[in-house]
């Protein structure tokens, strides 16, 4: 273990420094701050779902429920003890994160136990159903006079962007370090083959439940931060779509890859956010986009299955197909828009395309690269080392 402590302390220091750097950079602009905090929360959610879906192989689709449990716990506690929250806001926020993690962890236990009997798509459905049950119940319960189906408002005393990022970094660290322990390897064993790992003495039950509890707890902490940052928590913020978005992030990054989850979370958060500002678009262009996406996917699939030449040539063909289809899409869109009948159709709001992008991403990704961007591999410094010695790798 040469250099264990320097590396460890160095990474911790780096994470804290990065969190505060992000805080400083986003200061002054409420809108940027909100985006940055939400990005951190989505990173946390994607990483925590990756622990359940990717690393342990239990396909869960109700992650928004745990997020919601954490947010509601924090919101309701703050509602009933406003004086405590005002006295020491930062300490209270820390406490709320812990409390949200505990309640969401208990919810994770509740979902994790049935998962012992169910696999694959059945588990997916049960977790999806659990998410909906929690949301519908929260939507209908009358909670005193202080809120209920319209949600709860929370007094915001402190805006801690750094805390959200520090929490995200901790989530990453927990998942990463877990995998380098002997106990962490049991998670992977359960994913690869449940029966074989059972035969090798792995406690499958315990492993699955642990994964659910840790994943849920991290999501709950994110929920607590959300409630305290937005100043508001309502059941409409945690619909099925949120669960689907988190699943998309995990799948896009590569089911099982923490790096992938982080990269995909950031990408899939910022790209649709930017799409809110899109100008209104003519319907012909959108139709052309749909048609050409389909054709490009078909062409790419054909190339990947029928061309067996050098990798560099293959990459060239790929980029040729993509560039070509963009050009054809532009021409087709212009042609469609020139049709008089199409001109009469009112322009489509760009923001409407936000969730369409998620859907198209999911389908295209599954058709072209089912293993996701990173597959199961993780970020490592070796990549950069290898870049320097490209020749040697190629020959070996």
């Amino acid at each position: 273990m040469k250099g264990f402590w320097p590396v460890r302390l160095g990474s911790i220091g780096l994470a804290i420094a990065a969190a505060f750097l992000i805080d400083q950079l986003s200061k002054g602009n409420d809108f940027t701050q909100r985006l940055v905090v939400l990005a951190a929360l989505y990173v946390t959610l994607a990483v925590s779902l990756n622990l359940i879906n990717g690393i342990t192989g239990q396909f869960s689709m109700g992650h928004a429920a745990f997020y919601m449990v954490g947010a509601y716990t924090a919101a309701i506690s703050t509602l009933f003890h406003p004086e405590l929250a005002a006295k020491n806001p930062l300490l209270w926020l820390f406490g709320m994160i812990i409390f949200g993690m505990v309640t969401a962890g208990i919810a994770g236990l509740l979902v994790g136990v049935p998962s012992l009997r169910l696999r694959g798509d059945y588990l997916a459905i049960v977790t999806l159903g659990f998410g909906e049950i929690v949301r519908i119940v929260a939507n209908n319960v009358k909670f005193d006079t202080k809120g209920g189906s319209y949600g709860f408002s929370v007094d915001v005393h402190v805006t801690a962007v750094w805390l959200a990022w520090l929490f995200a970094f901790s989530a990453i660290a927990i998942c990463r370090n877990l995998l380098s322990t002997a106990r962490g390897l049991t998670f992977l064993a359960v994913r690869e083959d449940e029966t074989a790992s059972l035969a090798m003495g792995v406690n499958v039950t315990q492993t699955k439940v642990t994964a659910f509890v840790i994943g849920a707890a991290l999501a709950g902490g994110a929920g607590a931060i959300l409630a305290h940052f937005e100043g508001f928590a309502s059941s409409n913020m945690f619909t099925m779509d949120v669960s689907f978005i988190i699943v998309t992030m995990v799948v896009l990054g590569g089911t099982g890859s923490i790096t992938g989850a982080v990269v995909a979370a950031v990408l899939l958060f910022f790209v649709p956010e930017k799409m809110r500002d899109l100008p209104d678009m003519p319907i012909g262009g959108i139709t052309a986009f749909f048609i050409l996406t389909g054709l490009a996917v078909a062409a790419l699939r054909y190339v990947s299955q029928h061309y067996h030449g050098a990798a560099s040539r293959k990459a060239m063909i790929y980029s040729g197909v993509v560039i070509g289809s963009v050009i054809v899409a532009a021409i087709l869109g212009a042609a469609l828009n020139a049709i008089p009948a199409v001109k009469l159709v009112p322009l489509v709001e760009g923001a409407k395309l936000r969730l369409v992008v998620f859907a198209v991403t999911l389908i295209v990704l599954m058709l072209l690269r089912p293993q996701g961007i990173f597959g199961k591999s993780e970020f490592s410094w070796d990549w950069f080392r290898r870049l320097g010695k490209k020749q040697e790798v190629a020959t070996s």
Partner: protein
């Protein structure tokens, strides 16, 4: 024993729950259950053949409703039309149109989204299905008109069966009516006298108005008590039920007594062995998707036409899709009679939940039923649970 001799007491409220509305809720639930069963057939057949939960099935249903809507527009029933009641052939044209539209969509989805992934892990198909469902929901918002209604005039069988179940009490409505007229007259006279704004009354005005309202309520309650328990079943829903039964009989014939149906059952039993026995597996899978989607299309047309207040938008299929899916799992997914049983049970459960006053929790209850079934009897009511152990 004739129906009207049921003692009045059994329909009295118990613990705040109005027992007299139970028969109506159960019948409504049962009728809706037939529609659920029709959609559940699509889920169950696809699962039987491919072991895939076709999440996009609810969206196929939604497109079916749109096909029916566009056909009704093509027949002249555009919004604010001045046409009279429709003809029977119009309903049949709408039914065929939405069945054909859904069938084509189902086959397209199978060919271009699911077939390329058949050799990948099943999770890949599941995620593609979710993606397709989102694409049809949100992409549809760009291309399709939202919040539309099929004009109810197109249904030639307007009206409803009204069945009295007895339980009425004789109430002196004449006196109550007289009181109401008196109070209303007093209120109108007050308005005339003071020239008050009826939307902004002072204390006196409010008192007179509330007296009039109370009298109106009394009369209405008395009329309800006098009527006893009646069942109101619109003709349209009965037509939907009969059509559903015929469709199911057709499906049973197709699956059980034709060569293609036998091939379908073989594929569902063992995919690889069936292909070794010379069955064209791809064509059977396409056929299964076609059948399932056609059933969904028929269901969509009937809901959109006969169920008043069904607003068609791109999320139209979501609730029905989820309920039908639960129904399929409840009956034992992959099992055709199970899907019908599950659909009917789901409908009845929903009726009961509404009757108990938990209408807001209706969608949650579907999931609760699902989870309980999966935990206690993972194979569903009619299915056989398989333990996946080596």
């Amino acid at each position: 024993m004739p129906i009207h001799s049921i003692p009045a007491d059994i329909f009295l409220p118990i613990g705040g729950v109005e027992l007299s509305t139970l028969p109506q809720q159960l019948v409504d639930g049962l009728l809706l259950g037939f529609i659920y069963a029709l959609i559940a057939l699509g889920y169950t057949m696809v699962y039987g053949v491919l072991k895939l939960i076709n999440f996009a099935h609810g969206e196929v249903f939604m497109i079916g409703a749109y096909c029916a809507l566009f056909t009704s527009w093509a027949l002249g029933y555009i919004p604010n039309n001045t046409l009279g009641a429709g003809q029977w052939w119009m309903l049949i044209v709408m039914l065929v149109a939405s069945m054909v539209g859904c069938g084509l969509l189902g086959m397209t989805i199978e060919r271009f989204a699911y077939r390329p992934l058949r050799n990948q892990p099943r999770i890949a198909s599941l995620i593609t299905a979710i993606g397709l469902s989102l694409l049809l929901q949100y992409g549809g918002q760009i291309f399709l008109p939202l919040n539309q209604n099929i004009d109810s005039k197109i249904n030639p069988a307007a009206g409803a069966f009204t069945i009295a179940l007895g339980g009425g009490k004789s109430v002196d409505t004449a006196t109550l009516k007289h009181t109401l007229e008196e109070k209303q007259a007093a209120f109108e006279e007050y308005l005339k006298r003071t020239k008050a704004d009826p939307f902004n009354l002072d204390a006196d005005g409010k008192k007179i108005r509330s007296e009039a309202q109370a009298a109106e309520r009394d009369l209405k309650n008395a009329a309800d008590t006098g009527k006893g328990t009646t069942l109101v079943i619109p003709y349209g829903k009965v037509i939907a039920m009969i059509a559903t039964i015929f469709l199911m009989m057709g499906l049973t014939y197709l699956v059980m007594y034709t060569k293609r149906g036998r091939a379908m059952r073989a594929v569902s039993h063992d995919f690889d062995a069936a292909s070794l026995m010379g069955i064209n597996v791809n064509s059977i899978v396409t056929f299964t998707f076609l059948l399932g989607s056609v059933m969904a299309g028929a269901g969509a047309m009937m809901v959109a036409t006969f169920y008043a207040g069904a607003k068609i938008d791109t999320f139209f299929g979501m609730v029905f899709g989820v309920k039908a899916f639960v129904a399929a799992v409840l009956g034992g997914i992959g099992n055709i009679p199970g899907a019908v049983l599950g659909g009917l049970l789901m409908g009845l459960t929903e009726g009961l939940v509404s009757w108990l006053g938990f209408t807001a929790y209706k969608d949650a209850v579907a999931f609760v039923v699902l989870i309980v079934v999966l935990l206690l009897r993972p194979g569903g009511l009619l299915g056989s649970a398989k333990v996946e152990k080596v």
